[in-house]
Symmetry: C2
Subunit: 196 residues, 2 copies
C-alpha cells in the first residue's frame, strides 16, 4: 500500500470499487476475475493488488460500505419524534428511493451473500439486522401507541423490506410510473394492505 | 441423444438437473462448470452432453421447468368462483408454501436471470408475467366488486410477490414460527397492512 497515497490512490480505489460493482452486477461475483477488473479500470493486473487484498476482501468491502451508508443515511433522515404512521411512510419512501438509485449495491447485497466467507457474512447480517431494527422500532412504537394492531415484528419487518427492495428488480427510469407514484402505492400497501 | 432412452436416461437427466440446482444455488451459475456437474452426479464429463446441450440450455430448462410447474400448480388449486378475499388469502398461502419447499428454484429464478440469453430470458419473463396475471386478476376482481379500493394492479402484484418470495431467503425449518404462522402474518399484511 506504500505507493498509493493521496488523491490518485483514492481515485483508483474508487474506480476499482465502481468497476467491480458493474462486473458483479452483470455476471456475478464468482465469474469476475481480478484480471477483468484491472482491464475494466485500465490498470495493470498487478496494480489491483495495491488496492484490494483479495476478491473476498473486495466483496466484503463493497457490502460493508453499502450497509454502513444505508444505516447512516436513514439515521440522518429519521424523525424520531414523529408519530409511527409518518415514520413508517418516511421509511418506505427512503428505502425505495435509496435502493432504486443503487441497483448494483442491491444486486450485490442480495445475490452475493452466498459468496462471502463465514465471518464476513456474519458481519453483514449483523449490520442488516441493525438497519431492520429501525423498522421494527417504528412498528413496535405503533403497536405500543395502539395505532397498529399487534403483529410479529420480525416477520413484518422482513416482509416490508422484501416488498420495498423488490422495486429495484423491475423499476425502469422510462417506465409508466414516477418514483413518487411507486412510493405512494407502496405506502398504501404497507399501511392499509389491499383491503384499505 | 440416441443412446439415452428409457428410465436409466430419464433418471440420469433428473440427477443432472438436481445436482445443477444444488451447485448453482451454492456458488452461482457462472461459477459452475459441466465438469463439476459430472463429478457431482458421478458420470464422465462427456456423458453430461448426452443430456444437456450446453450450460445455457440447462439453465433455461431449469427456469422453464420451475415456471411451468408453478403456473400449473396454482391453476389446479385456484377456486375461481370464490370471493376475492378468499382467493387472495389462498394465493398468499400457495405462493409461500410452494416456494419455501423449492428454495434452489427460487434462488436460480431470481438470481440467475441475468445469465440467460436474450431469447430465453424473454420466455421466462413471459411465463412469470403469466403467473403474476393470476394475482392481478384477483386484485382486479376485488376492485370491480368494490371489496378492494382502486390500486395500481401491476405495482401491487409485484410488491405482494416480492414480499411473499422474500420468505425463502430467511425461513429456517427450525425457526421460531411454523409455515402456517408465517402465512398468517403475510395474509394479514397483504389484506390489511400494518394499520389493520
Amino acid at each position: 500500500m506504500a505507493r498509493t497515497k493521496g488523491s490518485v490512490g483514492a481515485d483508483t480505489k474508487t474506480a476499482i470499487y465502481s468497476a467491480a460493482k458493474k462486473l458483479i452486477e452483470a455476471k456475478g461475483f464468482e465469474a469476475m476475475t481480478l484480471r477483468q477488473l484491472a482491464a475494466e479500470v485500465g490498470v495493470q493486473p498487478g496494480s489491483v493488488y495495491r488496492y484490494v487484498e483479495s476478491k473476498d476482501e473486495l466483496l466484503q468491502a463493497l457490502m460493508n460500505q453499502h450497509m454502513v451508508s444505508l444505516i447512516e443515511n436513514w439515521e440522518k433522515l429519521e424523525g424520531k419524534g414523529d408519530d409511527p404512521v409518518s415514520r413508517l411512510k418516511a421509511f418506505v419512501a427512503f428505502h425505495i428511493r435509496y435502493h432504486i438509485e443503487r441497483r448494483a449495491d442491491v444486486v450485490i447485497a442480495n445475490l452475493e451473500l452466498r459468496s462471502l466467507g463465514e465471518d464476513y457474512r456474519a458481519d453483514v447480517v449483523t449490520k442488516r439486522s441493525q438497519y431492520e431494527a429501525n423498522l421494527r422500532n417504528i412498528l413496535s412504537d405503533g403497536v405500543k401507541a395502539g395505532v397498529f394492531p399487534k403483529v410479529d415484528l420480525e416477520v413484518a419487518a422482513f416482509a416490508i423490506i422484501a416488498m420495498l427492495t423488490g422495486v429495484c428488480f423491475w423499476y425502469r427510469p422510462d417506465g409508466r410510473l414516477s418514483i413518487d407514484e411507486i412510493i405512494e402505492v407502496h405506502q398504501k400497501l404497507v399501511l392499509q394492505g389491499v383491503v384499505g
